[in-house]
Symmetry: C2
Subunit: 339 residues, 2 copies
Amino acid sequence: MSTIEDVAKLAGLSRTTVSRVLNDHPYVSDEKKELVQKAMEQLGYVPNSAARSLRNQKTGIIAVLIPKISTPFFSQLIELLEMKASSKGYQLIICQTQFSKQKECRYLNLLKTKQVDGVIMTAVENDWSVIDSYLNYGPIVLCNEKIENANIPMVYVNQAQSGYLVAKHLIERGHTHIAYCSNGVKSEGMRARIKGFQSALQEVNIHSYEKFYFDKVSSVEDGKQVFRKLACMKVSPTAVFAGGDAVAAGIISEAQKAGWRIPEDLAVVGYDNMEITKLVDPMITTVIQPVDAMAEKSIDVMCEKIHRKQFRTFENHEFISKLAYRGSSTNRDHLVATS
Amino acid sequence: MSTIEDVAKLAGLSRTTVSRVLNDHPYVSDEKKELVQKAMEQLGYVPNSAARSLRNQKTGIIAVLIPKISTPFFSQLIELLEMKASSKGYQLIICQTQFSKQKECRYLNLLKTKQVDGVIMTAVENDWSVIDSYLNYGPIVLCNEKIENANIPMVYVNQAQSGYLVAKHLIERGHTHIAYCSNGVKSEGMRARIKGFQSALQEVNIHSYEKFYFDKVSSVEDGKQVFRKLACMKVSPTAVFAGGDAVAAGIISEAQKAGWRIPEDLAVVGYDNMEITKLVDPMITTVIQPVDAMAEKSIDVMCEKIHRKQFRTFENHEFISKLAYRGSSTNRDHLVATS
DNA sequence: ATGAAAGCGCTAACAC
DNA sequence: GTGTTAGCGCTTTCAT
C-alpha cells in the first residue's frame, strides 16, 4: 500500500501538494498537478480513509437503526436510504435493533466512538431522555417516526390523516361496523393513526370501534386468526382496516377459504402498498406512504446536520399518504383505476 | 470529547497504561486498573475508532455487496449476515450494485481505501479477472454464488441438486410435460440448476424441456404472463418450475383467475421459501435453501480470512437445499406435512 | 509493572 | 505556488 509520501517522492514534490491535488484545492499549477496525477496512477495510490477520518473528524458513514431488516417496509426504506446516501457520497452501516433497548444503545454508541457521522433511527425503543444524551456526540434524525418534544429533525407521515382517510373511505361505502387492527407498537404514529380513524367514525356517530379492535397483529398468520375471531362474533364487522398489507392478505385468504366474498361480505384495507397487495385477488386497497420522498428528506437533513454541527434542532418534516383504491374494498363497477 | 491522554492525566498515569487497560493487556496492577477505569467513567471516555483503525490497520467493518436490498431473498440474507457479523463484533456496510459493473467496482474500492476489512459479494457482475485484482487489498468472500476457477472462499448451494430435486418430484407425480422458468441471470449457479433439472428429465427420456423454457421471468407480473403464454400452447405443460416464489405466485394467481385448478390442471414449484408461499391457496411447494447456515459460514470464513491475511485461497463451502412439499404440486391426500 | 517516544497516513496553518 | 511542520488519537516497541 502506497502512501501520500510515496506519491510525493515519486513526483518530486511535497505531501502538501499531493494533498492539494487530492482535495481539488486551488493554487496548484497545472504542471505539478499532472505530475502528481501520473505518480498516483503509477503507484495505484488510494488515500487511506482511516487517516482521513482521524484528521478530518468525519467518516462519511451514516448508521441506520432498524428493528428488523427483512420486514418488507423496512427493506424498502433501507434500499431508498442507501440510494440517496450513495448519491451524496455516504456509506450506510445497517444496525438491527431487534426491538431491544440494549442493542439500540449499543448502536447509538457508534456516534460516541466516531465510527459514524450520524444516526438515522427508523424506530425508537428507549425513552427520549436516553436518546437525547447521545446528541452530545453527533446528529440523530428520526425517519418514519415522530416523538413529542424531541429536539431533533423528524421525518414522518401524518398518520392521523392516514387513519382518517381509511375510515372515511369505508364509511362512504356504507360501512358502519368497521374493525381496526393494531400491530401492537405503541409509538406516537400508531396513536395518531387510531385517533384519526376514530375521529372519522365519530363524525358520523359510530361508536362501535372498541368492540372491533384487534391488537398485536402484524403477520399473515395473525391476519388469518383475526378473520377467525371476527367471523364468529355475534355482530361481525363488514369492513376491516388491517393496519398492514400482510395482515390484510391473511384476512382475505382465510375469509375466502371460509366462503366469504371480498369485498361484498367483508371489505379489507391494508397499509404500505407492498407487492403482496397486487398478488391476491381481489387486489388490496392500501395506504401509500411517500417512502421515497421521506428517504430523500432524511438523508438531506442528515447531511445538513453533519455540516452545520448543530444537533439539537426541533424540525418537523411531515408527509401525507394517499389511498390506493383497489378491489378489496371497492366493487368492480366503482373501481377507480390506480397504479 | 475526551482522549486517552485526558484519562491518563486524570488517573495520574501514562497513556500506555490506559491503553493496556483498554485492551485487556496483562501486567497492569489491579490498583492502577481500577484507577484508570474510574477516570474513564468520570470522563465518559470512549476510544476513537478512526485512530484505532489507523493504528491497527483494521476497521471492524465488512462491506456486503448486493444487487437490490428489497428483494425478499436478499433482505433475508442481509438480516442474517448482520446478526452473525454483529455477534462477532463487526459492522456491516450495505452496498447496492443495482446489477451495475461500475457500481460493483466502486464498492470494491472500499477495500483499497481500507474503509472495510473485507467484502462479501452476493452476486458478481464483472469478469473474474477484474474482481481478482482487488484481492491484493483484502479478502473477498462469495456468498450465494460460485465462480469456476476463482481462488477465494465460496459459500453456495449446489443448485444442480436443487434442480434435480424439483424435476424428480414432478416426474414422480406423473408429469411429463414440465416447464422451466429462468430469471435470466447467467450465473454459474443458474446454469447448474437447469443442468440438474434436465438431467432428471433425461433419466426418464423426457426431452421436451426446450419447448417449455421461459427466460427472464422474476416478478409476480412476469409469472402472470408466463401463465398466459403457457395456457395457449398447442400442447401445454402440466407442471412448471417457476424458479422463484414470486413467479410461482403470479402463475397460480393468473391460472386460478382463468379457472384452472392447482395442482390438478397445473402443478407449480417455487424457489426460496419466501413468506408468499404460505399466503396463496394452495400453498406453494418450494425449494428451501439453508440461508442461515450460509450466512454464518460466510461470516466465519470472512473473519478467518481477515485474521490470516491470506486472501487467495480456493475454498468450496457447498450446501444443499430441501424441498417443502405443499399443495401447489401435491394433492391433499398425498400431502406430507411440512413446516 | 510502568512510561517515553515513535509513528500509522493525512491535512492545514504558517512560512516563504 | 510550494514546502515545513505539527498533530488528529491510538498502540507498541523499548527502556527502566
